[in-house]
């Protein structure tokens, strides 16, 4: 019976979306009237019609698979799971390779932004910039908002911030995931930078973990090691370990076009203004001298906070611009792209948007991929986006969450919603 089939398929492919009061509801947790309607609708689609004086359809109209497929391809990504639960035929249509391929290639996808609404649980809202809608969302694998998170091409990589030994790669939409063995190297260290890079064609990926540890008793020397995971061999390799003098690694890194970029911070004692720098490390050449300090790229101007991201294999940085006389406050935010060894300024956040955030600490959340950059202040759930192509700044639709207590922090990350990729 199709009813039984529907429930079965629903349980099999449990969706990450849940119904929130007052918002777009997702998959209901019980087989209710809506789904029953859909079963009728499907039978309706398959029924043949008879010509009568009233009827306006040809005699033998039975909706063939290719037309059904075409219609379902117009649904927003968020609905695909639900329609896949209607019946076996529909499930087969939306799971077929051809459908997934067409779905991915025939339409415009823009990266979504996930915002945590709790610091203890991996729940929050995911924003779709095309439909301008926020969906109640629960993340797989991730424990809390303090975890390290990186994403590339529909896959999200995450690592816990306690033991730093739990590492997963998942697709947040389909909830498929793989647990990776913990990275080699130091067990206790100070800073960790996580990145992932997915090959769009083969779907294989590399995960990088850069560990930074202060050399005991020495304020200006730091041990920095690079560990790379290859999904093909399913193995880690420690490709570089060296001592940096005057600089340390932090938590900001990204892999772009086969190069690992690490944001580094000066440790020259006594200087109040902490300088940022950029180290590059080619994953393919794996030079034995590792990070090559002499390739240090300096920042275009003093920054309070830098966020690195991969926009179509270009390295883009969003940076906070400090006020000379007032530490801890930023006067603006800029966007740069790395061209060779030089930074090219792309845009500055216009004043009216800057003001719209209200409070803006010198440190903020920002991530981006493909053509879109998201910027969020830790102090409020407001979300701003910058379209790299159109060079346009735009507020997102207001997020349906309010600040519950003065010190509540909001953070998030962006990812591409894709159905066809699995870790």
């Amino acid at each position: 019976m199709s009813t039984v089939l529907c429930v079965f398929y629903f349980l099999e492919g449990t969706s990450c979306f849940h119904a929130m009061e007052g918002e777009t509801s997702w998959v209901s947790h019980s087989f209710d009237d809506n789904v029953r309607d859909m079963v009728d609708f499907n039978l309706f689609l398959e029924r043949s019609y008879e010509v009568s004086t009233e009827a306006t359809v040809p005699v033998d109209l039975i909706l063939p698979d290719d037309l059904l497929e075409r219609i379902l391809a117009y649904l927003p990504i968020a609905s695909i799971f639900r329609v896949g639960c209607v019946c076996k035929r529909w499930n087969e249509v939306v799971s077929s390779r051809r459908f997934l391929w067409n779905f991915t290639h025939a339409r415009v996808h823009k990266p979504w932004y996930f915002m945590f609404t709790s610091s203890d649980e991996p729940v929050g809202y995911a924003y779709d910039p095309i439909l301008r809608k926020w969906y109640g969302f629960e993340l797989p694998c991730i424990g809390t908002s303090s975890w390290f998170i990186a994403s590339s091409c529909g896959l999200v990589c995450c690592m816990d911030n306690d033991s730093r030994s739990e590492l997963y790669v998942c697709n947040p939409i389909t909830r498929n995931y793989r647990k990776l063995e913990k990275p080699p190297g130091l067990r206790f260290y100070d800073y960790s930078a996580l990145s992932i890079s997915v090959n769009k064609i083969s779907h294989s990926y590399n995960v990088s973990v850069v560990k930074s540890k202060q050399v005991p008793g020495n304020f200006i020397q730091w041990e920095v090691s690079v560990h790379i995971y290859d999904s093909g061999t399913m193995m880690w390799a420690t490709t570089s370990a060296e001592i940096l003098t005057g600089w340390r690694g932090g938590e900001e890194s990204v892999i772009c076009d086969g190069v690992l970029y690490l944001l580094v911070y000066s440790t020259g004692g006594g200087i109040p203004e902490s300088r940022h720098g950029l180290l590059t490390y080619s994953l393919s050449s794996r030079l034995s001298h590792g990070l090559l300090m002499r390739n240090l790229i300096s920042m275009p101007c003093p920054l309070t906070c830098g966020r690195l991201m991969n926009l179509k294999e270009k390295l883009v940085m969003v940076g906070g611009l400090g006020k000379q006389d007032r530490p801890g406050i930023i006067k603006g935010i800029g966007i740069w792209v790395l061209s060779g060894k030089e930074w090219q300024e792309i845009s500055r956040m216009p004043h009216k948007f800057f003001q719209g955030f209200g409070e803006f600490d010198d440190v903020f959340a920002s991530s981006g991929t493909d053509d879109l950059i998201y910027i969020q202040s830790y102090g409020a759930p407001a979300l701003l986006s910058f379209d790299f192509n159109q060079k346009q700044w735009k507020w997102s639709q207001k997020c349906p969450v309010t600040k519950r207590f003065p010190l509540q922090l909001f953070t998030g990350f962006c990812f591409e919603p894709r159905l066809e990729i699995s870790p």
Binding site: N34, V35, D37, M38, F41, F44, L45, Y49, V51, A55, T56, V57, P58, L61, L63, L67, R70, I71, L72, A73, Y74, L75, P76, S79, R82, V83, V86
Partner: protein, 121 residues
């Protein structure tokens, strides 16, 4: 030379004949192909499309061919109203749009059907 546009005859599944301007008929890639490759005679048979559906398809094409190119708002509201119809008819239109290979019409009707499905979900 008189700039009279050539007229094309289309015959529906129930043998009703519709006379339309070539420019309009060419909105359908299927018809255009048949004419350009001399596959059809004086009348083009469309055995998969009933006259009721064909009449509506012609109405859509006429509006889109004759409307000034920059009047997007008007076309948008025309399109929205056009698909605000009975599901049966919408199916017929989508099926015809697929068979006749009229891309904009196919996109419009497919999206309308997807919207109905989404609403029901």
């Amino acid at each position: 030379m008189a700039s009279e546009s050539k007229m094309i005859m289309l015959r529906s599944s129930n043998n009703e004949v519709f006379e339309v301007e070539e420019a309009l008929a060419f909105e359908s890639q299927t018809i255009k192909h048949m004419i350009e490759h001399d596959c059809a005679d004086t009348v083009i048979p469309l055995p998969k499309v009933s006259s009721n559906i064909l009449a509506k398809v012609i109405e859509y094409c006429k509006k889109h061919v004759t409307s000034p190119k920059d009047d997007n708002n008007e076309l948008e509201s025309f399109d929205a109203e056009f698909v605000n119809i009975d599901k049966n008819v919408l199916f017929g239109l989508m099926s015809a749009a697929n068979y006749l290979n009229i891309k904009s019409f196919l996109d419009l009707t497919s999206q309308a059907l997807a919207d109905i499905i989404e609403e029901k979900c």
